[in-house]
Amino acid sequence: MNSIFDSRILNLVIFFPLAVAALVAFLPKDEKGQIRAVTFAGMIGSFLTTLWAWMRFETRSPVEFQLEYRLEWLSDVGISYHVGVDGLSVALVLLTGVLGPMVVLSSWNFVAERVKEFHVALLVLQTAMFGAFTSIDTMLFFMFFEAVLVPMYLLIGVWGSEERQKAAVKFFLYTMVGSVLMLLALFAVYFLSAPSGARSFDYSTMYNGMMGGSRELATYLKANPDGNGVGLTPVAFALFKYGPWLFLAFALAFAIKVPMFPLHTWLPDAHVQAPVAGSIVLAGVMLKLGTYGFWRFAVPFFPVAARQYQNFFAALSVIGIVYGALMCLAQRDIKKLIAYSSVSHLGFCMLGIFAFTAEGATGSAYQMLNHGVSTGALFLLFGMLYERRHARLMSDYGGIARVMPVFAAFFLIVTFSSIAVPGTNGFVGEFLVLLGTFKSNLPLAFGVIASTGVILGAAYMLWMVQKVFFGQVTHQENLALKDMDKRELAAALPFIVLIAVMGLRPQPFLDVLNTSTERYIARAKFAAGDGTSDERLVRVNVRQLPRVAVAQAPAPTPMPEGMVRPARPMMLQQLQPVKPALQPGDAKVLP
């Protein structure tokens, strides 16, 4: 059943927090309680919108992007406001929505200065993340992707700890480097994917435009593994020549965001300095922008290059799993430990993505959600401790279970979820990722080494738990710590419920994710040329802009090279200086 609202839900999801932010901006800045309450209510409302979107998502529908909405916007350069969700993005949207209210609760007392700005930043951040996950237009995605940086930079730089400035700058520069390269690669894909006039930044145009080339290139490479590309059509030749570089440019941007080894060093610093809210959003949602990028853009755009670099990226993921875990064992700072554990967990996500098996990809997608819940909860809980003691080192604690038993119980449950004890959410994701790795064409050693993460995870988490919670209380000031109050319980309890529900009834989530997985696998594999992909799933079908559809329908005749339909004479002149896409034969003809 389609209702009239369906096509508008996502707009509501994206812009509701922004509207609340505007409202908060008008509140008097000394009414801190009011600001918090309004933001909290706004976050709850925002969560309800995401829940609505989630409920309206149909797993049996053959449509890939559901709740789609497309509006003409900057069509001169082929950009439109185009949003929609598939299984993975609707799940990530829901995750973002769930974390929202908890983030506000977590900083209720912690943030006492510039309260208004803080909450506005949180709400804007929410909008940016929703936008990034729902954009089908790549430029729109890029804008939201970059927009996420600003509020996060402020969260770390303004409300962070002692060395916040340094961490914030490091975070910003690290991510910017990748983004710039990705932007260039986006432009290249824009020119490559369609002839002049038909170009668009829309995901479907870009992907479908290169699909034929990828297929041709894959067949070609299968026949001549060492061929020099002579005889390929222009798109296939360009993909042959520049595909790996473009893929790497995308991959670099997203690998920094994930972060993959060895691009991870911004994460511990950012987490340590960030306020609790920043840490929760950073670990819970923002890192997934990286894995999501691989899933949505890097791999489907360049399936042949992704295949070529499969071992490389899978190896980096495996190294990340083990390396992140080993780093945890060397930490004394609790927040740093949790940050490094993120590196290890995200390694599982990346391994699942590069296993190119249905089990691996579904597990990876589920692991993204799990990591958001578990690590989000770990940061939330540690934030409560930090709020009381303002200390981050394990040696500052000890015997906390005696003074804060309820808190200890919560922390322990989240720990078990984090180390993937079966029955909690973590297990399902990790199990599927590892199984997918074993079933994939990757060397068996990858799966075996990745599985050691199971042991190492338990080693570092329980070590930390023992240092913090067990033994005698060693510091006098810890004796007076208060256990969790009602507000903190309300913030933590949803996580516990999610951990249990997602561990015991994962199938409703997996059904939604499976719709994306099938397509992801089909798109990653069709280029293998072995005919195992379901052809119906390979192509991206989206709603066309109504005006364009009407204008183009009667005249499907191919345009001569280099000419643009003179619908907009102003644009024609601007576009002309741009050279047509590179043609392999061109060089010889020139004098």
Partner: protein, 725 residues
């Protein structure tokens, strides 16, 4: 008599209904755990005890009902390949599936898991009753009972699961509860550390379990994808649809897998990641990985080190988890997948050898330990080793019988030890006890009975089970490994001798003679009825369980009347496929005819008498008179007392290098290479470049003009060269 037999062989409830109610057996203790954990403090001590005990009792009653039901010939658990006779089961829908993989919430109780159900809930109930008294002064009672109930639920999941992943839920669940209970008194860092050590050691085993499961999935899929023209047998369409419906790791699917494997043992795998490997080799690897998993959970070499430290937990926990139930999961696992194990003689002999050497090593360490719980812990490791010896030589029923009898007498011994500690001001050191026979008569009597049982004195239950294992190790031959198997058998027999020695040593030191001068309190007091009651019941069970080992069942097979013990006969439906495969593949040579049991019985007597006598002589006669052992024995005693320095070696070889390595990695790679050289290096380079390039932007117009002129002339020169032919 006939009528009575018929009565017990008629299901009291509809088997299908019983199958659908299996989840209740798990749900009750789970609910109990929830109530105790969340509301325990509010509802008070007595109510918590009531909830915890009655939830396990309810489970026990349901288990009885189920057990009764599965004695009915009509009881059958539905599987895609027809039903499993003498079993009930039900499928409660999908847990998770992705791609071609699927796991269902499927539960099944057959004779194997049915027996385990009774042991877990029965012994569990007794230990709950005991704990109510034992923990009556502890403030954390609600936490304790929540964990204990949770443990029972996890253990029940383990035995009721009808697929490996669901079994793994219980498998890790019991490890988790064990972690929580060992570190129950977490104020003491030593105890918290012991819990952590147990969990991480278990996790090393779980790593093996997971790998084995993944490889099994890969193998199952290669069977389905096997081309029709490839040599060897092929799976049926039923199999393919069963894998899709039940998932590749359901036990019914694995059993069918085993049936199709005999013709494929020497064939190559043609598809998937294992391409090129023989099925036989792959199966051996899988079984050895399962053994790694079992070694973690059931405390075998090289992962046994956690169990002795696990005695840091409250004594009832040691009795329930670290003696009767959890540590036997490894044996249960291998009984479950016995049809796969018997196809790999290499894996069998490795398991037998690991079991035998663990048994011997642990027994030797137990010789000199002073803590009464430590002695019992090493004794448990040793007995578990014997069970694995049984598994290795294919005597599954014997190993499982030993699980049952061991559950009774070892639980009784541990609870007895708890009673001793309770009555002696928490004194654990046996050398500081003494003379308890008169002061704690009930504890004494039950402890003595159990000591006799574990030593293997006829006619107690321990004798029958232990002897069945050793007998099988002697007479059933693993093809191709006769020599090694004889070695394993000798080690097993030596273990039996050692067991008698160290158990009687503990007994004589604690219960006989005069009260030690170092005792904490001058007079011990006997424990309350809530504690002695379970002791008596368990001691009685330790005697009565002997019926299972009596060769009283006669049955016709192939025209010959063969005599089986009660247990072997009872488990026959469970091991039917296994026995078929043994007969078909001949990897295990069974004795042609049963020889007289008199000789082994005599052997057992002699062993028990001689070793027990030796203990009597040393600890009742020699030491009281002389005060110390002869000098030449001292280094040996020290070596054994320090547990062969295994912990120290592990610390030096594994743990220390590991921590050092991660610290070094953090310093060198993260701080210096990535952050120092790459990140800050880039920043530095950018800054330097800027600093250098700054000199180019001087604002000096003449300079700019000069550069322009130079560039222009350079371009001109290039153009001229380009134009010239």
């Amino acid at each position: 008599m006939e009528k009575l037999q018929l009565f017990f062989q008629t299901a009291p409830v509809d088997p299908t209904q019983a199958g659908h109610a299996l989840w209740l057996i798990i749900a009750l203790p789970l609910l109990g755990a929830f109530i105790c954990g969340v509301f325990g403090k509010i509802i008070g001590r007595a109510n918590t005890n009531l909830v915890a005990i009655s939830s396990v009792l309810g489970s026990f009653l349901l288990s009885l009902l189920v057990f009764w039901t599965i004695n009915d010939f009509h009881a059958s658990s539905p599987t895609p390949f027809g039903g499993v006779a003498y079993a009930v089961g039900a499928d409660f829908g999908t847990w998770f599936h992705a791609g071609t993989f699927r796991v269902n919430f499927g539960l099944m109780a057959d004779h194997l898991s049915g027996t385990m159900l009774l042991v877990i809930t029965g012994v569990g109930f007794l230990i709950h009753v005991y704990s109510a008294e034992y923990m009556s002064h502890d403030k954390g009672y609600w936490r304790f009972f929540a964990y204990l109930n949770l443990f029972v639920a996890a253990m029940l999941t383990l035995v009721l699961a009808d697929s490996l992943p669901l079994l793994f839920v219980g498998w890790e669940g019991v490890g988790l509860c064990s972690y929580l209970l060992i570190g129950f008194w977490y104020d003491d860092p030593q105890k918290a550390f012991a819990g952590r050590k147990a969990f991480i050691t278990n996790r090393i085993g779980d790593f093996g379990f997971l790998l084995a499961s993944f490889l099994l999935v890969v193998m199952v899929e290669s069977l389905i994808a096997r081309p029709a023209n490839a040599p060897g047998s092929h799976v049926s369409p039923t199999y393919t649809s069963a894998v899709a419906d039940k998932g590749p790791l359901a036990f019914s699917v694995l059993e069918e897998t085993a049936r199709s494997l005999p013709d494929l043992i020497d064939e190559k795998i043609l598809t998937g990641p294992l391409t090129g490997m023989n099925y036989g080799v792959a199966l051996t690897i899988i079984m050895l990985l399962f053994m790694l998993g079992a070694a973690g959970k059931s405390a075998q070499i090289p992962l046994y080190v956690w169990l002795p430290d696990a005695m840091a937990g409250p004594t009832p926990v040691s009795a329930l988890i670290h003696a009767a139930t959890m540590v036997t999961s490894g044996i249960y696992l291998f009984c479950r997948v016995s049809y796969l194990l018997v196809l790999s003689p290499t894996a069998m002999i490795v398991i037998a050898l690991i079991g035998a050497s663990t048994a011997l090593v642990a027994a030797l360490i137990a010789f000199t330990q002073k803590g009464i719980k430590k002695i019992l812990a090493y004794s448990t490791v040793s007995q578990l080793g014997l069970m694995f010896l049984g598994i290795g030589v294919g005597a599954f029923w014997a190993a499982f019988l030993h699980v049952i009898t061991h559950a009774f007498f070892k639980a009784c011994l541990f609870l007895g030890a708890g009673s001793v500690m309770h009555g002696n001001g928490d004194e654990e050191d046996v050398t500081k006890l003494g003379g308890l026979r008169k002061e704690m008569p009930v504890t004494w009597a039950t402890f003595l009975v159990s000591t006799f049982a574990i030593t293997g004195v006829i006619p107690l239950s321990g004798f029958f089970s232990k002897d069945a294992i050793l007998h099988a190790a002697h007479t059933q031959h693993i093809a191709g490994y006769h020599g090694l198997q004889t070695l394993a058998w000798i080690m097993g027999t030596l273990t039996a001798a050692c067991t008698a020695f160290y158990m009687f040593r503990a007994y004589f030191l604690a219960f006989e003679g005069e009260r030690s001068k170092d005792a904490k309190i001058p007079h011990a007091h006997e424990s309350a009825a809530a504690m002695t009651g379970p002791l008596v019941v368990l001691a009685v069970l330790a005697v009565v369980a002997l019926v299972h080992g009596l060769p009283i069942m006669h049955m016709q097979r192939g025209g010959v009347t063969i005599t089986q013990t009660l247990m072997e006969n009872f488990l026959d439906p469970v091991f039917r496929t296994t026995n078929d495969l043994i007969a078909r593949k001949q990897f295990l040579e069974m004795p042609k005819e049963h020889e007289s049991m008199l000789l082994p019985w005599l052997q057992a007597w002699i062993i028990a008498l001689v070793s027990g006598g030796a203990a009597f002589f040393i600890y009742r006669r020699y030491l009281p008179a002389k005060g110390s052992l002869p000098g030449f024995l001292e280094p040996l005693r020290k070596f054994s007392f320090n547990k062969f320095f295994v912990d120290e070696v592990y610390d030096f070889v594994v743990i220390k290098p590991f921590t050092l390595f991660s610290r070094a990695l953090h310093k060198v790679v993260d701080s210096i290479l990535i952050d120092g050289v790459a990140v800050h290096g880039t920043a530095w380079l950018t800054a330097r470049t800027g600093a250098v390039l700054r000199y180019l932007q001087t604002g000096d117009a003449q300079m700019y003009a000069a550069v322009m002129a130079l560039a222009a002339s350079g371009g001109l020169v290039w153009a001229i060269f380009k134009v010239l032919p």
